[in-house]
Symmetry: D3
Subunit: 249 residues, 6 copies
Amino acid sequence: MSFLMDHMTWMEFNEKKEESVVILPIGSTEQHGPHLPLSVDTVIAKEFSIALAKQINGMVAPTLSYGYKSQPLSGGGPLFPGTIDLNGETLIKLVEDILCELVKDGVKKILVLNAHFENEAFVLEAIDLVSNKYKDKVTIVETNWWDPMPEDVIDKVFDEVKFPGWAFEHAAITETSLMLYFAEELVHMDRMVDTKGATPCAYHKYPIEKSTIPESGVLATARTSTAEKGKIIVDSVLKELVSIVNEAF
Amino acid sequence: MSFLMDHMTWMEFNEKKEESVVILPIGSTEQHGPHLPLSVDTVIAKEFSIALAKQINGMVAPTLSYGYKSQPLSGGGPLFPGTIDLNGETLIKLVEDILCELVKDGVKKILVLNAHFENEAFVLEAIDLVSNKYKDKVTIVETNWWDPMPEDVIDKVFDEVKFPGWAFEHAAITETSLMLYFAEELVHMDRMVDTKGATPCAYHKYPIEKSTIPESGVLATARTSTAEKGKIIVDSVLKELVSIVNEAF
Amino acid sequence: MSFLMDHMTWMEFNEKKEESVVILPIGSTEQHGPHLPLSVDTVIAKEFSIALAKQINGMVAPTLSYGYKSQPLSGGGPLFPGTIDLNGETLIKLVEDILCELVKDGVKKILVLNAHFENEAFVLEAIDLVSNKYKDKVTIVETNWWDPMPEDVIDKVFDEVKFPGWAFEHAAITETSLMLYFAEELVHMDRMVDTKGATPCAYHKYPIEKSTIPESGVLATARTSTAEKGKIIVDSVLKELVSIVNEAF
Amino acid sequence: MSFLMDHMTWMEFNEKKEESVVILPIGSTEQHGPHLPLSVDTVIAKEFSIALAKQINGMVAPTLSYGYKSQPLSGGGPLFPGTIDLNGETLIKLVEDILCELVKDGVKKILVLNAHFENEAFVLEAIDLVSNKYKDKVTIVETNWWDPMPEDVIDKVFDEVKFPGWAFEHAAITETSLMLYFAEELVHMDRMVDTKGATPCAYHKYPIEKSTIPESGVLATARTSTAEKGKIIVDSVLKELVSIVNEAF
Amino acid sequence: MSFLMDHMTWMEFNEKKEESVVILPIGSTEQHGPHLPLSVDTVIAKEFSIALAKQINGMVAPTLSYGYKSQPLSGGGPLFPGTIDLNGETLIKLVEDILCELVKDGVKKILVLNAHFENEAFVLEAIDLVSNKYKDKVTIVETNWWDPMPEDVIDKVFDEVKFPGWAFEHAAITETSLMLYFAEELVHMDRMVDTKGATPCAYHKYPIEKSTIPESGVLATARTSTAEKGKIIVDSVLKELVSIVNEAF
Amino acid sequence: MSFLMDHMTWMEFNEKKEESVVILPIGSTEQHGPHLPLSVDTVIAKEFSIALAKQINGMVAPTLSYGYKSQPLSGGGPLFPGTIDLNGETLIKLVEDILCELVKDGVKKILVLNAHFENEAFVLEAIDLVSNKYKDKVTIVETNWWDPMPEDVIDKVFDEVKFPGWAFEHAAITETSLMLYFAEELVHMDRMVDTKGATPCAYHKYPIEKSTIPESGVLATARTSTAEKGKIIVDSVLKELVSIVNEAF
């Protein structure tokens, strides 16, 4: 039997719903440079969720493929064609409705697994609204795949290149390595641009100007990315996610 | 090159965006009886969209996997576990945001392809709001996969069983046949229940009572479903969709 | 004593509120061709409600005179002057507030009687939200006047002209006959245009083009309309509505 | 030809729309003591509008029969059964949509005529939003029927009873006299209670307590009401309304 | 210990929260002529609240410095630079959230003290929504500082100038006297313009025209304003506010 | 002349509005341990804004004293009494309205200065909506006071204690030092608790549990805080803010 709700009948879902953790993966449709597809965050959120579900006998709800507005210094921003952003209010309502429906169906444990930096505040707002409504009827945990990643894995992954901070890890080594591991067929290493990376900026300016970020949309170099590094990340993060599940629910 | 935005880089999307039709498939997460998965509408919307994109050199935006509230007499209703419904306002905002972003990116032709009966009024509301905002900057067409299906195909598909009307064609012959054609691995013909079908009712009653629909969630029999019938539907509908595209844009 | 809340004092309402069915008629302000007034749906909704209230000792709440957006192929669309459309969100909130207030007042049985095709999805959304809030405290039934109409009545009414389907029955035989029966003084039979009718279309296109519908705003011919046919419809539908009330509450 | 949009065809409306003032009457569904119906504000708003339309060759849009929340010291408050209140946001959206539609239809002069004390702030908010959107494309004027009433008329109407202020003139002399003039058949003078009236209060307290207002719902005595006084009010106010129209448009 | 929540630690707040009245002052940022600052309403709301808190051992929540839209004939309107208006929906949500949070913290008595004429309807809407949600868990009282002011104080304050009514008392004698008493350093008596005052108008017209009000923004003369008159107002109103608190909670 | 809009007349504001930068300070009402008041973020946002305004001849708009929901691991969370949180939608609308009004008044340069960690995503959403509406008519810059702080200042401030990261710098050394510098009278150093600090956590869990954070509400020790350190921070940050203003506008 599959761990994807997409593949399950309602009767299969019904049997597992009270005991199992339901994982809701949240991605985005966002530019990821010339060598990665628009679906990077969606693929990573979904694949991490499936891998986790297998280990904890969980269920994976359909992935959200659209996320909150891409910011210039963490995703390239809205001026790149193909980046399809939701307003904050829309994302709040979308996550809120889905969580409420899961609770009404009898689900008691939900893990929201996010892979798009800019989503988090709005996803947490949705969770807060749902939690205030249903109180102890449901436990909801939210994390980003990079949050539980151990320090020593960062050292391993950034063996040649300096870690630029998570905001700049956009279309860079971690995401490229994860995509090589999860969906190699969607990666075009030959088109990879060895960008000098974006320059940090201590403020946000509107109207957003395209000139503040590299033309390619890559915020830090993806050089040295490999499927092996992807596997290292996945293995270490999965182990932590399993711990979180054991601890939180 | 893929026709799925999910698989494209922003540069690939950029090249095609002004000339190509972008197709937005909308499905649902909804019970479809004991023999079909929760993703039936999502799979059908997405597969029709890919097939159409191939013929018209279009692009398929990421499919919406959650839709408007399932109604008892067209989807079984909210009391079946696994049916995850959005509020009307949420679906309106979700579709509105995505369409606006496509227009801002420079897309001029959008086809919204719906596969969940209950979505339509809210999807049209979103399109209307976007069209009022952008006027002649974009042409948006909306259709359900069953709308352009020719009369004679209905006769072919319902060769043994009487056509129960589109609302009742839920987890029944057309959807089962389409799933056998598009994603046979997700169909469990051995679990199919030969239901007597739901009884039509001239009114809606709230609170919704589960007793008004067959326990299995199947609103009309799926007996006589085959992948061949699925192919007949797909071929005929695709031909019509191509005509619509040629006529409307 | 009147059956209209409009005519009742609060003390009269107070006495009946717990036992009686409150009927909420919903119409629209929408073009209905050169021979019918903008208030056709409102008049029909209200008159059916009064007639029903008399038979079941019900009460009729003030009619909603503005409804959801007129669609080209079921009402002529927004481009006809005099068609005054509400946004979906507005209609949802309007119906939701009124129903909530009736429940707070102690009403336990509500029938929403709709006469404008395009209203239904949004009215049902409002009812669903209210029902989720108040659960078993109130039973709410919704129907359109044409839903419970028996097949044989259609045959009687369409004795010369072929029945074009309910969406096209706009300013056509059924509505004209009902208006002749309910409010003859508002009908101008001499201005009636014997339109060839609108052409069915398998999709919705935006921006809406006026050219897709007959210039008169009539979607199917009203020829052969009579007050007698109006009476036949009213008598048959009323009988069914009484049955619905007996069955549902 | 009628002055009511309700009675006009779209073609009749079309001919007058650019030159004529469209009057939108706004009432409420609210308790008005034992001798007056729930529709007092709606009847008065509508009848004033019709009378004005006749004098200025205007058009009367369908009356809004539901208004903002009744306050204890100007309408008796929400605890009287039969008082059906809208939330502020709902009334804003409702008026906003209707005004926008009139403007889109080509109407250039709109008069909103209010008869329910509590509506005004929310109606003005709607008008402000529409005016900011359409700017010089439309002139919108709002008034309550009592605003332009000359001082000397108050003296004539309150010949025996002291004028209690407009907030307390609820189900009292002016409204009763107007109803006797406009719709005598809906007035039950025999059931009139000669209340001592409500006691003014310098603050609002929530939860609202029913004890703060007379049990009958009448906030000031209706004694000495006559149809003649109604006529005096109507004649004087109409004259002022015509002046406002001449001055403002 | 201070009476301002602004100055208190959470532990100090915690000790008083259940017994004390929490006062929420609401002002505005609005033009007040050439001799008064934009913060007049905010200063007055806050100072009255502090003075009251001292007498009743209450606590003053942070003052709201932005209010609802300034109307031409009660505040000069939106065309004066420096007037920063909130939309109605925003003010409703803002007050609603703050009140809900106070209730969740365990506060049982709240007094909302308003100093901006145009705020009241929206503030009451917020209070109504909160009161419906929490019912008997909290008592909320709302008043404007001028509401409880005794008649004889008006006579004392308007010894030379005729009282123009509260709407026109904008940047005029009462507000100027209160500012001289509360914050003399913010008053520029030398810049005072002895305006003839605005002309009353029986209707609202949109788009708003600046010409309808005096160029200075002063709606009635401030001549004869003194700190002593300010003190008279404060002393008399405070006494009434203490009575209200004793009576209402 | 003051730099606070609160202290300016509309005429003073009018003269400077087009050339000057308007600074909007945003704080919160949030627990800050036993030694600091609820207004820490508000005081810091306002004082930084005034200091900056003096250097760039700017104007400071009234400070927002209520902010977005306090999170357990950056502010202690909602379970501490005295923490008064706004919903995300409310904060978005509040900031959006104020910015729109400034733009309508003719302001062309706005700096939003935030001092509450949790506000940022919602404030940026508001700015984005306003910027999309007014485009090049206004330049809006947003920063948190800690964003432009140079690395070497952190070293100076954390001379004895290890820097715990910005999220944990709640009621700790930087905020306490800033309060000692800006408003010493509101700081109770004698009540300071030398907490061991909160434990980092790689995920968010709902319902929020109070046990996850130190009972005092202090997330990291405030030991070694001094007014001098406050001055060091202010001087260095101000210099950077001036650079930002010069660069961005």
